[in-house]
């Protein structure tokens, strides 16, 4: 493998690692908090919201938005680190 390929595969590995972490959070807030553990979380009430219900109809969506912007930041940094930014 030459230098160029090595750089590309190192970049790809870091990229995939970010994806696993971010999609882990994506899964946790929607399928976890909003569906699988909804019943348990509903016993906690914040204001008028039962927590599981809130995650299903509000919280998960806020987290999704944040996740994409975090991803944009992480990838811009990564691009710079490997000289792929333009």
């Amino acid at each position: 493998m030459n230098d160029k390929q090595q750089k590309a595969s190192a970049y790809w590995k870091e990229n995939v690692r970010y994806l696993f972490i971010l999609l882990g959070i994506w899964f946790a807030v929607s399928y976890g908090a909003g569906i699988l553990f909804k019943e348990a979380l509903d016993s906690i009430q914040i204001g008028g919201f039962k927590l599981g219900f809130w995650f299903a109809q509000q919280g998960s969506i806020y987290v999704f938005v944040i996740l994409i912007f975090v991803y944009v930041r992480l990838m811009n940094k990564l691009d710079k680190k490997y000289g792929y930014d333009e």
């Binding site: 929607s30 909804k38 008028g48 039962k50 219900f53 109809q57 969506i61 999704f64 944009v72 691009d79």
Partner: protein, 570 residues
């Protein structure tokens, strides 16, 4: 001024605006027609994507569905937003780097096969046509209710407007009209929501109002009140669903993956300049969509509470004016079964006297809450913006599938640039006419199929694209087998359990619920079909030759963001 005058004024102004934009942004080349020239800014593309995505279903139907389904309605909220995370992380940047015009372009080139391309074209047409018919119907509905024209005339007016800017401007015209349409629709959705939130809870932010206490001095939380009212009338608790957890899980996943696989959404990311712009514009798109999607559940709670308070156990003779206007459209029906002159609205079908079509919750909401006439008219203009913007995006996918993927890439590669542009315009015209026909005379299956378009997209495109990017060794045999098996399985399940085709028709559908596979409804089956697609692709791949080196090099290349250049068709 009356509601109708206001509606004529607002709809007139917005339509004039769309036509003005269309004339200003005519397309001169196929590149402008397919990808708006490839230089759209991330924010503008985010707005256009949001308008493209939010259809008549999001604007008109969703809050209403949630109002009646309560917690079960969460599948739409999470499903139709969470898909953007998948789109941003797994698809958009790489497809932008690949830099072609359409989704079948990617499938055809990545899997070095015109068979794969044609399978992708068929999937794209199947998904887009079912979807666009629903939009045209929405346009007709709004026209007939607010401008009191015949529903068919409404559809035809909508057809002419879309035809005008889609055929003239292609993606370029569509992009800039969608930016304007986003502004119109979000304003139209938020204004009544804020008004009602203040009215009911004193909190001007609907997302917070939903979790606040009522304004009536009782100190009760709105959601607790609604839970109480629901159980009193025999319904499920609002914050608790009636669907099984497995089904909720499957539907949410099918909608998410389907969203990420919808061709009219994916192509929007071909219109930006660089890979980093594609990532960023996915972020903008979801942020702008989230404004509506986090407000919708609040609107649902307000509307449902308001409705129960207004009608439950009240004398029919005392009903406000909106009640009878909507009765005329047959979207509200009252049947005084026990003859006491009062409205009994309860869960038990034998005793229930009131049927309310869920589609009218958003449209009637401002009237139920007694808001001024201009707000009601605004909702009409907003619904039209939502329906027209989505219809235009879908028509572009249909026309480019035919002119670019079929004519240019398969049937007649020697066609000139100019010839291809005319073919694209011709295909768009034919598509509008067919869509309009479905809008005027909807075959019974359209409404049901729209919801299942997501299942079809999940079962076909999503696995093929993800494997194409993340699995270098995936070959054409695997991908084609996966797509074909995935979409056929989805179609089979749909025909069997949604239409009862193999068991004696529609009437049998309810009885088949017991035999759903793994307890998963047809709406959620896209999840299973997607998993089967992945599995079939990977198994078939083991026994067939690997992709040629140049294709593996393409995969290496799309993983690196720099040097994207402009999208090209050649």
């Amino acid at each position: 001024m009356s509601v109708q005058t206001w509606t004529y004024i607002l709809v007139g102004i917005t339509f004039a605006l769309y036509i003005g934009i269309a004339i200003w942004s005519r397309a001169g080349s196929t590149k402008e027609f397919y990808v708006a020239g490839g230089g759209v800014s991330p924010l503008a593309n985010g707005m256009a994507t949001a308008a493209d995505w939010m259809s008549a279903a999001s604007f008109i139907s969703m809050a209403g569905i949630i109002a009646f389904a309560g917690y079960d309605g969460s599948v739409y909220l999470m499903g139709w937003t969470g898909g953007y995370v998948l789109l941003a992380l797994l698809l958009a940047p790489y497809l932008r780097k690949f830099g072609k015009f359409t989704v079948p372009d990617f499938i055809g080139d990545r899997y070095y096969s015109n068979t794969a391309r044609i399978v992708a074209v068929i999937c794209a047409l199947l998904v887009s046509f079912t979807y666009v018919a629903g939009q045209m119907r929405g346009v007709g509905l709004v026209f007939s209710r607010f401008l009191e024209v015949d529903i068919n005339t409404g559809v035809i007016i909508g057809m002419i407007i879309v035809l005008f800017y889609a055929v003239l401007g292609g993606m370029k015209g569509i992009t800039y009209t969608q930016v304007a349409q986003y502004c119109v629709l979000i304003f139209a959705f938020m204004v009544p929501a804020i008004f009602i939130s203040i009215q009911m809870t004193g909190n001007p932010i609907p997302q917070l109002g939903m979790g606040s206490t009522l304004n009536d001095g009782s100190g009760t939380f709105l959601l607790d009140k609604l839970d109480g009212l629901s159980t009193e009338l025999g319904f499920n608790e609002y914050t608790d669903g009636s669907k099984s957890m497995t089904d909720i899980f499957a539907i949410t996943l099918a909608l998410m993956v389907g969203t990420a696989g919808l061709p009219h959404v994916i192509v929007r990311f071909f219109t930006v300049k660089r890979v980093k712009d594609a990532r960023k514009s996915a972020g903008w798109a979801l942020l702008l969509i989230a404004i509506l999607y986090t407000t919708a559940p609040a609107v649902a709670v307000f509307a449902r509470t308001n409705m129960i308070n207004t009608v439950s156990d009240q004398p029919y003779a005392d009903m406000p004016e909106w009640f009878s206007t909507w009765e005329k459209t047959e979207l509200i029906k009252f049947d005084d079964k026990n003859g006491d002159g009062k409205i009994q609205y309860v869960a038990d079908v034998k005793l229930n006297e009131l049927t309310v079509d869920r589609d009218i919750m958003v449209l009637a909401n401002p009237e139920i809450a007694n808001l001024p006439a201009w707000v009601i008219a605004l909702v009409a203009a907003g619904s039209l913006a939502a329906a027209l913007s989505t219809a235009a995006g879908l028509l572009l996918v249909i026309s480019s599938s035919i002119s670019h993927d079929l004519i240019k890439k398969v049937l007649k590669p020697e066609i000139s640039e100019k010839g291809e542009l005319w073919a694209a315009r011709g295909a768009a015209t034919v598509a509008v006419v067919i869509a309009g026909y479905f809008g005027i005379d909807p075959p019974g299956f359209v409404a049901a199929v729209v919801a299942l378009a997501f299942g079809l997209a999940a079962a076909s495109f999503f696995p093929a694209i993800v494997l194409g990017i993340f699995y270098k060794k995936m070959n054409k045999e695997g991908a084609i087998a996966g797509m074909v098996v995935g979409i056929l399985l989805m179609l089979f399940y749909m025909l069997k359990f949604k239409f009862g085709i193999f068991d004696g028709g529609k009437a049998a559908v309810a009885g088949l619920k017991e035999s759903w596979w793994f307890g998963i409804s047809p709406e959620g089956f896209g999840t299973v079909a997607m998993l089967v697609n992945f599995a079939v692709s990977i198994v078939v791949m083991q026994f067939t030759p690997p992709p040629p080196q140049n294709v593996q090099d393409i995969v290496e290349d799309i993983r690196i963001p720099s040097g994207a250049g402009a999208a090209t068709g050649h």
